[in-house]
Amino acid sequence: MNGRLIQFAWRNLWRNRRRTFITMAAIAFGYVMLLFVACLMAGLRWQMIENGTSLVMSEIQVHAPGYYPSRSIQKTLGGRHGTDVNVMLTAIAADHRVYAAAPRVYGYGLLSAAHRSAGVELMGIVPDEEPKVTVLNSQIVKGEYLTARLPKGVVMGDSLASTIGIELGSEIVLLTQAADGTMGNDVYTVVGIFHTGLDAVDRGLVLMSVAALQDLLHLAPARIHEVGIKLKDITTATAVAATLQTQLGKTFPVQARAWPELAPELAGYVQFNRGVTFVLFFIFFLMAVIGVMNTMLMAVFERTRELGMLMALGMRPIQIVGLILAEAAGLAVASLIVGAALGVPVLWYLQVHGLDLGGATGEVVSLAGVVVGHLWYGRQDFPAYVEAALGLAVTAMVSALYPAWRAAHFRPTEAMRKV
């Protein structure tokens, strides 16, 4: 019986092509819109995260266990425990999801120029490797980034430079408590000044080469504090961090943390963003319900005579309901397939070409060479796509319920008399 009903339902759909196509168009279009929205929202989310992680933090950080939260300079990767940092770096880079990994050393110290001093955070990086992981090098506003040929060059933020009264080429002294407890100190040259717009960074961070900082801190060259990692796909961050921690942990104990742990405020924004997407989806579903229900209701009323006749011929009310629902289901599935087919090129375009928002952003300003309203890439969010499809299908079915119920209550004789 059921099979026959379904066949019947399917044929019913195609008997009135126009009506069917219109409703299909509505659902399909709705689905494409949802795909579009989901893709863009995902792009927005991840772009924010990339912006947040690419400046200094990086997407995953690997430390010796116990390095956080005290950040003691003693707790290094390499050195004391006989671990080999180069081996570790190779092992990390060997993971095909990793784009680049760069070693870092950290310290705190007093920076002193001719007239003034300030406490600063020192970050030792490898000039050739670090730009693959972070983009601070593109924020240089004066002078240049660190290079291998100026081993005792330092780069600092513009707020710091102006507070201390430093220019390019100035000499500065860094004074710190070294790993052996003595007063590490040395003279350096300011080769570059950056501007990130982040107060804490512009005011407190000084970049230098790993070797120079290790010297200053009396740390052996084999000892570093952190490995910063950039992935090919940032969405894999948590998974890769877990893998690395287990894998690397077999040879030497490490702690690998992905950006949600490192920057909970970013993770918070992601959740907020997801929440807004969800609300939007919900609203769209409601719109779809209205549209589909409206259509189906019309259709049912339109077919009053037809349905009445069916009942007169012996179809039971429950079968009528079944019929309507089956039609709705068929309609939904067909529409979603069409929608998905139409959506694929849209999603592809969003991901590969992106949306150029140059004109649409109104009061947006271009600052520090970075244009705010710019090319915006979408990202695939398959869970959302599936959710949207399911939602629409359910919506279509639910929308058909009321009309189906109405239909089941037709009195055959009255129904047949309708014009």
């Binding site: 009506r19 279009f29 819109m33 579009f36 929440g275 609203i283 719109m287 947006v364 300003v365 600052l367």
Partner: protein
């Protein structure tokens, strides 16, 4: 002329010949408009909130500070007290008063905060408690104790990370040590004899914002205490931060202030200028809203098309009769358009009522996003989880207008189809 009137009459009566169908359709379309309004409200509200959350931890929507401060970040560049009065006075007047929600003068510097257990470098922000409440989010993020109040002279409010590092609680003693701020220009080549001041404070409140840069670093003290500590005479401050009702008013307010303060050595910045990083992050958000509006409109438009088309299709017989009775195609088309407009008008009214009611609810009570997360949100959610809807009159008028225009144009296609009704095919029953 009479024919137009006739058309209108006929259109209207046509609608009501099938009251249930008409109402149902009107309801459907009205719901569509209501949803449009609701989603616009929530999106606008979300954007507004995201901006507000960002600027309220910093210089607000608009900030006035000494000229050159943004560039140099030198704490010695201060605003004279008379400028502060001028600003406050100006913002009390007419239009400004409507737009501005909070005005907070602040004095900022760096110092050392010590406890019996430890010490830490801090960013001192001297504030006037009641004014700061209207601008900063810190007063709303207290987890212990209370925020500053005007009668406390030696209280300090610190972040929970700092409290943890210093191992202090409410009521604990802390000593704040700092160097006096020298007026710029009085810089000597040799910095000997700079006065360092210490003052005893008690922890009056502890806050948690979830932002490490704030919780581990920023402290709020009463402005007069800060001024004394930093040797700042005559009521000078570092900046005056403004919070506006709407982020979109920032450029206008900034312009007005610049004009008012022309001639003074000040700079007036909107948040996009004072917090470019935030602006970059949020630029996407802003653009996104435009796109969302487009999408929603498209869906509403489709709904309208769908509905009207369906109506036309189901009335083939009726149109056939009309044509048989002599109605010309043009007139038939006009009738359809007329009906659509009437229907749209009814729908819009229904939609406005429904949409604005729901919007009002979300505007006052808000939508708690936490309800959407069965898995729970991260504990230190920086962003307020309650979304408040925001609709400007502009938006409402714009939405209604666009929908109406859209409905008009959309109805042309079905009208065309109606006009093309073929006899005798349409008269075939069944």
């Amino acid at each position: 002329m009479t024919s137009v009137l006739l058309l209108v009459k006929i259109s209207w009566r046509n609608l009501w010949r099938n009251p249930r169908g008409t109402l149902l359709t009107a309801l459907a379309l009205g719901l569509g408009l209501a949803l449009l309004l609701i989603s616009l409200g929530l999106l606008d509200g979300g954007h507004e909130q995201t901006v507000a959350d960002g600027v309220r931890f910093g210089p607000g929507h608009v900030v006035i500070q000494a000229k050159g401060y943004q560039e140099s970040n030198s704490d010695e560049l201060l605003l004279p007290a008379r400028v502060v009065s001028a600003i406050e006075g100006f913002l009390q007047t007419g239009t400004m008063k409507q737009l501005v929600r909070g005005v907070s003068p602040r004095l900022q510097a760096t110092g050392l905060l010590s406890s019996a257990a430890n010490a830490s470098g801090v960013r001192i922000v001297g504030v006037v408690a009641e004014k700061e409440r209207a601008v900063s989010l810190i007063p709303q993020r207290m987890i212990a104790g209370t925020y500053l109040s005007s009668d406390q002279h030696s209280a300090v409010v610190i972040g929970d990370e700092l409290a943890h590092k210093l191992d202090v609680r409410i009521g604990s003693k802390v000593v704040l040590m700092t160097q006096a701020l020298r007026p710029p220009g009085a810089q000597s080549k040799d910095d000997t004899g700079e006065e360092m001041h210490s003052t005893l404070l008690r922890v009056g409140g502890i806050f948690r914002t979830g932002l490490q840069a704030v919780d581990g670093n920023i402290i709020n003290v009463p402005l007069p205490a800060a001024q004394t500590l930093l040797g700042v005479a005559d009521g000078q401050v570092t900046q005056v931060a403004l919070l506006l009702g709407q982020e979109g008013d920032s450029p206008m307010v900034a312009r007005a202030l610049r004009k008012q303060l022309a001639g003074d050595p000040v700079e007036v910045l909107t948040w996009r200028e004072s917090m470019p990083m935030l602006a970059q992050i949020l630029g996407l958000d802003h653009a996104f809203n435009y796109i969302m509006n487009g999408v929603i409109l498209a869906m509403v438009g489709l709904g309208i098309l769908n509905t009207i088309l369906m109506r036309v299709l189901e009335r083939r017989y009726e149109f056939g009769v009309c044509k048989a009775l002599g109605l010309r195609p043009g007139q038939l088309a006009a009738m359809v358009v007329g009906e659509s407009l009437a229907l749209t008008a009814i729908s819009l009214s229904l939609g406005l009522v429904l949409g604005l009611s729901v919007h009002y609810y979300f505007a006052t009570t808000g939508l708690d996003l936490r309800l959407l997360f069965r898995g729970g949100l991260p504990p230190a959610l920086v962003f307020d989880p309650i979304l408040y809807s925001r609709l400007s009159v502009n938006r409402i008028v714009w939405s209604v207008g666009i929908v109406f225009i859209m409905a008009t144009f959309i109805s042309f296609y079905p009208a065309l189809k109606a006009a093309r009704t073929e006899l005798p095919g349409a008269l075939k029953v069944l």
